[in-house]
Subunit: 197 residues, 2 copies
């Protein structure tokens, strides 16, 4: 085994350490601070492992976990874009493509290609594995927000309708049973925090 | 699917969020702060994925990744015990067993058993999968320390001999090529920071 190959792999693994410094919109479940994208990636890989049985269609959980381990790496260059924030999706896609070029480009060619392909599959959200992975990625912040009395929802002025459109629909597509189980808690929170206009 | 089952799974996934608040001995690769065990778990799962080809014996990388995703969960109750720190291993094992009882006990019975068994396999470090997983767990802090001019080594008064005995031997057991590739950098650092006594 050549050291050149190992050194390229270590350069990639050292570069992705920066994901631990990308701050997300949601907080930890105790509200103590905002979550970073590194620990979020661990958490949702574990979510997927525990929740695999709730996938709407059969998935290869090992592929889903790999997808989730790498899904946010482009944020090192592109930053996190909260689902309830406002950003230009075309411009974001361009920036994330460039980030993927640079960061996965640190790997040996065979691994660069494999990781890039897996990330593109996640982004496209068309295969059963990617649809389930996206559902899991969307559900974890909802659980955190419920654990912290709405968490980042007030900050982003999220309404019950918006949560359903931007999050619920996507969770339902890959893991409807999970959304079903959360729905009562979500409805209760919004009922308590929405004033008639 | 009963909500009872999903609620148990969500209770577990919410509880393990606390792993993001368990602070480790090593810092991030930019030295900006100490790493937590949640983001560390993500990082080494990715390390394993990238470095699988360097395993000394054939491993099932999907099992290794699962093992690494759950390997530190007991630290929520037991805390992190730096490899170069001093603690009573028998007492620590007792505390970690109790933590495993409590935390994995939040899961539905079939998953409690599966996760507990996988964690015990990791701890025993006897199977090829567990030996490789342990190697990866040990090598990541070394890379971080090298990236930050020795990182936590001065704090723990680590000598070259101690690093070889407590870390090197274990990395070599599961992934000798990785240790080989790091050896020159490690030797250089200790040569520059060790004064003749």
């Amino acid at each position: 085994m050549s050291n050149t190959r190992i050194n390229a792999q270590l350069a990639f693994l050292t570069e992705v350490d920066k994901l631990k410094s990308v701050v997300r919109g949601t907080t930890l479940c105790d509200g103590s601070r905002k979550e970073n994208s590194g620990e979020h990636s661990w958490h949702i890989a574990l979510y997927a492992l525990v929740m695999a049985e709730h996938a709407n269609r059969p998935v290869n959980i090992d592929r889903v976990i790999k997808m989730l381990l790498i899904h946010d790496i482009v944020e090192i260059d592109a930053g996190d874009n909260p689902i309830h924030g406002n950003h230009d999706p075309v411009e974001m896609a361009r920036i994330e493509e460039k980030a993927a070029d640079r960061i996965f480009g640190l790997l040996p060619e065979d691994q660069r290609k494999a990781f890039r392909t897996l990330w593109e599959e996640f982004e496209a959200a068309e295969t059963d594995d990617a649809i389930f992975a996206k559902s899991i990625d969307r559900v974890q912040p909802v659980v955190s927000n419920l654990a912290t009395d709405g968490g980042s929802w007030p900050e982003y002025n999220v309404t019950a309708e918006q949560l359903q459109t931007r999050v619920g629909v996507k969770v339902q597509k890959g893991a409807p049973a999970i959304w079903e189980a959360l729905k009562a808690r979500i409805d209760r929170w919004f009922a308590e925090h929405t004033t008639a206009s």
